[in-house]
Amino acid sequence: MKTLSELHFDVLGESINIGTSRAVQGLSEIIGKSVQSSVPNVELVELKDVSTLALHLMAEKFGVVTQNFTGMLNAEVMLLFPEESVLRIVRNMMGAELDIDMLREFENEAMCELGNIMINGCLASITDALHVAIESSLPRYAIKSREEIANQIKTSITQEFILASHVDFVIEGQPTEGKLFFLLNSSSLSNIATVANEIK
């Protein structure tokens, strides 16, 4: 099994830290409110070790935006918010007092767009730091239980590792948590190691 050296993990971890901060900035801009965030905590987990506990999935259900990336970095990226935060975020995005039915109507579109902005903002930090380019799929959104998320990740047939970035943030006095999961395979890790060697 291919693993990342400490140096390679540092390069990638730092890029993900910067990318996560950029993603949080995107969240702040799109909802038009200040967002205070913690320093992201980045962990590398092998898929065989994935569980709801290992991924720190505390809420019962999450709104999940997923996007796939291809190129030098073949990755599946998942952005997660606890379900109870989702409608609050959508309401902030829409900037209007909408009833619950209207919020549900906009939920899919709004979360796809939010995910698109946050995930791409984060990925651009990584690809720019590594001087590479990747292509992205369109975002997909669904509400999933924490068990469904862990099982989906664990049974991935194309990926082998997960880089999990956890960040706590506060939107207008209300704490919430966000998670960015990067599912990668060995060849992507090898490519990252090669590029990291060139830029170290």
């Binding site: 995107g26 801009e29 799109i30 038009g32 995005m93 906009f106 579109e109 709004a110 796809c112 767009e113 698109n116 902005i117 791409n120 903002g121 990925l123 651009a124 690809t127 720019d128 380019a133 990747i134 992205s136 799929s137 369109l138």
Partner: protein
């Protein structure tokens, strides 16, 4: 003077926000919408817009490909790439086309950047 703007984006929310912000600044401007690059290429002959905002990641062809086709046909059209995909590669591609990449989200600031570019 009234201008015509074609907004190309597969996201309904983004089209709605772009429309809201532009209309707030220029209520007399006429806005039309396309949801794919292919649709934009079809509409451009009919609508003959002065300005265009173009997303990159959409179903079908990339917005950058559609932009190249449109600008080859209408070199005087002022077009901005308006996208969440802000990788340096796409910024360079936009510059090579003689345009700019404005990064999403759609906000007053990002719309101002697009409008400044339209104004030349």
């Amino acid at each position: 003077m009234s201008k015509k703007v074609l907004v190309v984006d597969d996201s309904k929310i983004s089209r709605m926000f772009i429309r809201q912000h532009i209309s707030a600044k220029h209520p007399d401007w006429i806005l039309s919408e396309a949801t794919t690059g292919e649709e934009a290429i079809e509409m451009i002959d009919k609508e003959q817009p002065d300005y265009c905002t173009m997303d990159i990641n959409m179903p079908g062809m990339l917005g950058t490909e559609a932009a190249k086709i449109i600008l080859a046909k209408y070199p005087n059209l002022r077009l901005v790439i308006f996208s969440a995909n802000v990788q340096e590669t796409y910024q360079e591609e936009a510059r090579a086309m003689g345009t700019i990449l404005v990064s999403k989200p759609v906000t007053e600031a990002s719309i101002r950047q697009a409008l400044d570019y339209f104004a030349g």
